[in-house]
């Protein structure tokens, strides 16, 4: 984009790759969207394993047991062409320091979205979308982290939605209930003649079918006791942007949506600001909002969001500010988080997690900070730990600083020069343990419910398990390039 003067942006290398003169079909473009998701392996269907436990209703299983083993679900991309997205492998933690970790096994492929972990960390929700004659079929599967067994599964057919629609499905656990809301973004293509534009390198005119995509949203509700869906309820909000942010408390699901700006409504000579998003509260089980209220910028788009103990919902925006949405009215209160307001040229990973005691655990590894804030005390920062900035603080996985189940120990990936993993006391910030195996760089961490720590690396072997005191328990490998751990 150019300001009043006209010159092409410089400072970059040109590049070409792949074949010329071949246009993928719309269905090829959508491969991995509607059409082909599958759960591949469900190897532990009973509670017969040592240390296994009933999955129970969604989000209700114990998360504090010290029994072994537990499963980590690895999400990412297989390192084999054609590199389909949305694969999941399951990895079992070692049963003891003397036991070797087992080889992870493939669990699911071509998920419609990344897995979602229940607020109590006991259950993982997986969504797949498959083509069917009556319309895309959305399947929600709840899997126990204790057993890797399916606790409940249900499907929903989006009747009347064309097969080439793009379906984005986001599960939202409603804490303290058996309900999992499913926020669906349905994006439907329409042909719009022929596109003609200059090739970026040769300036030759290339042609292709032009497509216009229009999105709207729908809500459905999954009962984790019966396995039945209610809905879908069409929110009749076309044209909207497909991206949403959503969270739920025990009575409502809150959904942020944004109207898609339509060029026809704008005039270059009469400038107007970007449209505002809105937040709507839907009583669980309903497609009719209890209220809809304008929200503050930014548009919803992957920012961390949690439900507070009060039932209000907090978004962490710009990596440094909390926007707290009243569950009663939709009014939004902004809270600046001073320790996070440190400018850096590149955005950092940011994470936010609601703790069982009602506090919020927030990390920003790009500035080497982890904090705990107390919403019940005007969002006061109750503890703060500084640590060396990791090698790639914005890379996947974003979980570069994680908290032990007790909340007493902070585990972080090592600094850019040292690598390894370190542990700090969350109350004092004191370094208590480090594991630095020759500068090996880990890119993400995950605390299992039994307290063990899983560190992932882009280099083989990709998985290293540690005891809570950071004693190595063993390594395991996977062909999956890991983007997140659940």
């Amino acid at each position: 984009m150019v300001l009043s003067r006209r010159r092409r942006l410089g400072g970059t290398e040109s590049f070409r790759a792949g074949r010329q003169g071949f246009e993928p079909t719309r269905r090829e473009v959508l491969a991995g969207g509607a059409g082909a998701g599958a759960l591949l392996a469900l190897p532990v269907m009973t509670s017969s394993l040592p240390g296994s436990r009933s999955a129970g209703a969604a989000g209700t299983a114990s998360s504090s047991s010290s029994s072994h083993p537990w499963y980590a679900f690895l999400y990412g991309t297989p390192e084999l062409s054609p590199y389909p997205g949305g694969s999941v492998m399951a990895s079992k933690s070692p049963a003891s320091a003397s036991a070797s970790p087992t080889t992870p096994f493939q669990f699911a492929s071509k998920l419609a979205t990344a897995p979602v972990l229940s607020p109590d960390q006991s259950t993982v929700a997986l969504v797949t979308v498959a083509a069917a004659s009556a319309g895309p079929r959305v399947t929600l599967t709840l899997v126990s982290k204790a057993t890797a067994a399916v606790s409940k599964q249900g499907s929903l057919t989006l009747t009347g939605v064309p097969a080439d629609a793009s379906i984005l499905a986001t599960p939202v656990f409603a804490p303290g209930t058996k309900t999992v809301a499913l926020v669906l973004a349905i994006t439907i293509p329409a042909t719009a003649g022929t596109l003609r534009k200059a090739d970026a390198h040769t300036a030759a005119i290339i042609t292709a079918p032009a497509t216009i995509w229009k999105s709207h949203h729908a809500l459905a509700y999954f009962d984790s006791s019966s396995g039945a869906f209610t809905g879908p309820f069409d929110l009749a909000d076309e044209p909207s942007l497909a991206l949403t942010t959503a969270a739920a408390n025990g009575t409502d699901v809150f959904v942020w949506t944004t109207p898609e700006p339509q060029a026809a409504d704008y005039d270059k000579a009469r400038p107007r600001p970007a449209p505002l998003s809105s937040v709507s509260a839907f009583p669980l089980g309903s497609g009719r909002p209890r209220f809809s209220a304008p929200s503050l910028a930014p548009w919803p788009g992957g920012e961390p969001v949690v439900t507070l103990a009060s039932g209000d919902v907090a978004r962490l925006v710009y990596g440094r500010e909390l926007q707290v949405c009243s569950a009663q009215t939709g009014d939004i209160t902004t809270r600046a988080l001073a320790p996070l307001s440190v400018a850096r040229p590149k955005p950092s990973a940011v994470t936010m997690q609601a703790r069982p005691d009602g506090t919020l655990f927030i990390t920003k590894p790009g500035i080497g900070i982890a904090i705990v804030v107390d919403p019940a005390s005007s969002f006061r920062v109750t503890s703060r730990v500084g640590f060396p900035v990791p090698l790639a603080p914005g890379s996947a996985p974003w979980s570069k600083a994680v908290l032990s189940s007790s909340g007493e120990v902070l585990y972080v990936t090592g600094g850019a020069s040292s690598g390894g993993v370190s542990a700090y006391r969350m109350d004092t910030g004191a370094l208590t343990a480090s594991y630095v195996p020759g500068g090996r760089q880990y890119t993400g961490l995950h605390v299992l419910p039994d307290g063990d720590v899983l560190a992932v690396s882009p280099a083989h072997p990709r998985l290293t398990f540690f005891s809570p005191a950071l004693s190595p328990l063993g390594t395991a490998d996977t062909s999956l390039q890991i983007a997140a751990v659940f």
């Binding site: 290398e13 792949g18 246009e23 993928p24 534009k197 200059a198 970007a274 983007a483």
Partner: protein
């Protein structure tokens, strides 16, 4: 002097950047939605444009840095992220009268792929195709071009996935972090 790539607002960055580097930038690269950890250009594009003009580098490149795990996701996620990115750029364009497209009608739109993040072909194809196919401001000239910022020495498979891209999905440019 090359450009400044900043997650902060231009008007709040250029003085300190000038003090650090001792020169005016030729251009800026700024973040647009979905970039959940950055200040976003489209939130106050007028002030950003004034800041860019005053800095002596009145050109703005557009980059989006989604949550990195999404880049390992599906076509639906890639399409949704591209849809928001294109809408954010168009919103900024419509908010500032003097904000214009390049004279060659090619605006490279960067996807930020960080070190150790792997890009799935499903995500890239859908993302790139939406950007290339976006009828920006109803001009009918399709001026947006997909481009990739990445770290080529990052562990395999990294960004090698784009070698499988075809047609409109081929990146107009790759910007190396090194």
């Amino acid at each position: 002097m090359a450009g400044y790539d900043t997650a902060g607002e231009i008007q709040n960055t250029y003085v300190s950047a000038h003090n650090e580097f001792g020169a005016n930038p030729n251009f800026w690269v700024r973040y647009f939605a979905p970039s959940p950890a950055a200040d976003l250009f489209e939130n106050d594009p007028t002030s950003e444009c004034i800041g860019a003009w005053d800095s002596g580098g009145p050109y703005v490149g557009c980059i989006s840095a989604p949550s990195q795990s999404r880049l390992s996701g599906t076509a639906a996620e890639g399409l949704a992220d591209a849809q928001t990115f294109a809408a954010a750029i168009q919103s900024a364009y419509h908010a500032v009268t003097s904000l214009l497209l390049p004279t060659n009608n090619q605006l490279w739109c960067w996807l930020d792929q960080e070190y150790s993040t792997t890009l799935s072909l499903s995500y890239w194809d859908a993302w790139a195709n939406y950007i290339a196919n976006y009828n920006f401001a109803s001009l009918g000239t399709y001026p947006l071009y997909p481009a990739l910022y990445c770290t080529p020495e990052s562990p395999y498979p990294n960004c090698t996935t784009i070698a499988n891209a075809t047609g409109l999905d081929i990146p107009a440019a790759v910007w190396s972090a090194e």
